[in-house]
Amino acid sequence: MPLPLRAARTALLVTGAALLTRRALRRRIDASPLWPLPALEEPISGQPRSRALTLRVARHERVAEGVVQLRLEGGHLAALPAWEPGAHLDLVLPSGRVRQYSLCGDPEDTSSYTVATRLIGPDEGGRGGSREVHEALREGAEVEVRGPRNRFPLLDDTASYVFVAGGIGITPILAMVRAADAAGADWRLLYCGRSRASMPFLEELEKLGGAEGRVSVVAEDVSGRPDVGAFLREGAQGGAGVYVCGPEGLMDAVAGALPEGCSLHLERFAPAASAGGGSAFEVELRRSGRTVSVGADTTVLAAVRAELPDVPYSCEQGFCGTCQHRVLEGEIDHRDELLTDGERGDSMLICVSRARGTRLVLDL
């Protein structure tokens, strides 16, 4: 066969094959745009740790001396993410400050969130967040929130509950009391504050407590300091779940007087992410077989880097998540805004978080 003819035949065959392949491929693709890649069985993407929502302040009202309650509504949303008693929201205030506030509304209400905050002046160690909530978040203002998250869940593993609230610490406890009461559980509440006028939600709580005297209110200006020991001896039967939210002193008093068999659940007024600051402790790096000490004014990351210079990190402010490491032993003082409650059980961001006790063991 002469050469040009042979070339023409080859060209024809190749074109034909290409056309057929293209048609077959196109059919296949049209039938299923997702042919032919395998998929991860438990997808990771699309489940962010938290989501930001912009909510509108629908109501801003004074509910006690120095305490305002905000009702935040999500106009565009069909339903706000659900929450359970003990949960809190992160509010991103207009200045950029991020503050945590416990939800104290009705979990069934999916159209709004309710938080209450007490004005804390600079003389009491306030850093301006509560002042902003009181003054800048007027009705109609928009505010970005993250969450809700729950570090203080109400467990249903006990037959009876004892709640202790100090001052504005009543906010998570209020939702818990309502839930315990609605479930028909046996519960008691000790609610202390400086004066009745400064204590929000008194009326509702006393009504819930009813004639059985489930609620003891101690206003310091009239009755002095509460006798936590006596309250617990009388109120906490063996096996009760004890839930406390309030100032450090109150929580220490409850922990010290806890009757045997009771479980203790604390909600601290944790400061927002602030690097450094705190007490010194030791960190054992189990895999490398070394121990480093972390000073009061330095971070775990800095101490670890001195020994292991290639340990990954980046933002050093607790938001990028690069320095998340597994914790094998020790209680963690989480100071980041990133990790989920699940992750907090056995891991930490070593750039900002610290030890609650004197020792941590890291898987490093």
């Binding site: 997702l34 998929a39 991860l40 990771i44 699309g46 929502l53 991103v92 200045s95 990954p312 990028c320």
Partner: protein, 306 residues
């Protein structure tokens, strides 16, 4: 040998700045499904970013954490540390868009589960023995990232200059996400290439990984755009074609085909250095005015100072 020296990559020193992650946050509830009004094709073609980036940039971080011990240059180490945090935030920010799409009736999970597989399994650590095999695979992935970053910088530069998106009333939150991300991509555009040059730099590896990355990007992108168009609950017969792509390119709502083709030989040139294209100054200027980046700045300031 005098001409090899002239052809070595020449970084533009003035384009280098220290990198830091920004704690940005975007809320999506008021962003419509078609955030570029009346143009579902362009919307969804750009939306493919939300499908690829959460898993992809998580993978960048995963690989770079492993490469840290191989870095012998302190300034490059600083750059890589900053790069890691920026990429981690990009991944988180795009990941938060996905539930919003799901709520609007466009569930991305069938697609993202495949992208997750691609980056977690196919491009994962593959339980290799320590030694040559593991090192080879790490270097291959470092080179892949350098090639992908050539395109992220290209897209970042494009989106910073895509005035047509503003003119057509694109959703401001989405535009800010894209431009914050684009600006950081331009800001750190040299890091991946510098790292690759530092730890390996082989030209054959550069060409090979470029070919892989380019093919994969084209494949994944067209597939993602078609996936969105076909599953968009508001479109009855949603299709995505190359013709639509060219049309959007001409209109200025997507990069033009010819710009994309012209970027290929540039990466393959032996004299290429990422600092030769894009403008750090423009990126920094955008970041100084971006609502999300300025809010992040305020947050870092008030919370850090407390």
């Amino acid at each position: 040998m005098s001409n090899t020296k002239a052809r070595l990559p020449q970084p533009v020193a003035s384009e280098h700045i220290p990198l830091k992650a920004r704690n940005v946050s975007f809320s999506w509830e008021s962003t419509p499904l078609h955030w570029l009004p009346g143009d579902p094709f362009t919307t969804h073609t750009i939306n493919v970013l939300h499908l690829l980036l959460p898993a992809g940039e998580r993978w960048f971080v995963h690989v770079y954490k492993q490469v840290l011990p191989h870095i012998r240059d302190e300034r490059l180490r600083e750059d890589v540390i900053g790069f890691i945090g920026q990429e981690a935030m990009h991944s988180q920010a795009h990941d938060e868009v996905l539930p919003h799409l799901r709520e609007q009736g466009l569930d991305p999970t069938p697609y993202t589960a495949q992208v997750d597989w691609l980056f977690e399994k196919l491009l994962g650590d593959r339980t290799l023995p320590p030694g040559r095999a593991r090192h080879w695979w790490l270097m291959e992935r470092v080179a892949l990232i350098a090639a992908i970053e050539h395109y992220t910088a290209f897209l970042g530069d494009w989106v910073l200059n895509a005035q047509e998106l503003d003119r057509r009333g694109a959703d401001p939150t989405m535009l800010d996400l894209l431009r914050w991300h684009g600006a950081e991509e331009v800001e750190h555009r040299s890091v991946a290439f510098d790292l690759f040059t530092h730890v390996d730099g082989g030209y054959r590896r550069r060409v090979r990984t470029w070919a892989t990355a380019f093919t994969a990007l084209v494949f994944l992108w067209q597939r993602g755009a078609r996936f969105f168009m076909e599953n968009d609950p508001t479109l009855t017969d949603g299709k995505a074609s190359f013709r639509d792509f060219r049309r959007s390119g001409r209109a200025g709502t997507l990069p033009t085909t010819s710009d994309m083709i012209r970027s290929i030989p540039r990466y393959l040139s032996r004299a290429y250095h990422p600092s030769q294209e894009g403008s750090t100054e423009q990126a920094v200027a955008y970041l100084a005015s971006s609502p999300a980046a300025t809010a992040a700045e305020a947050r870092a300031h008030t919370n850090g100072a407390a």
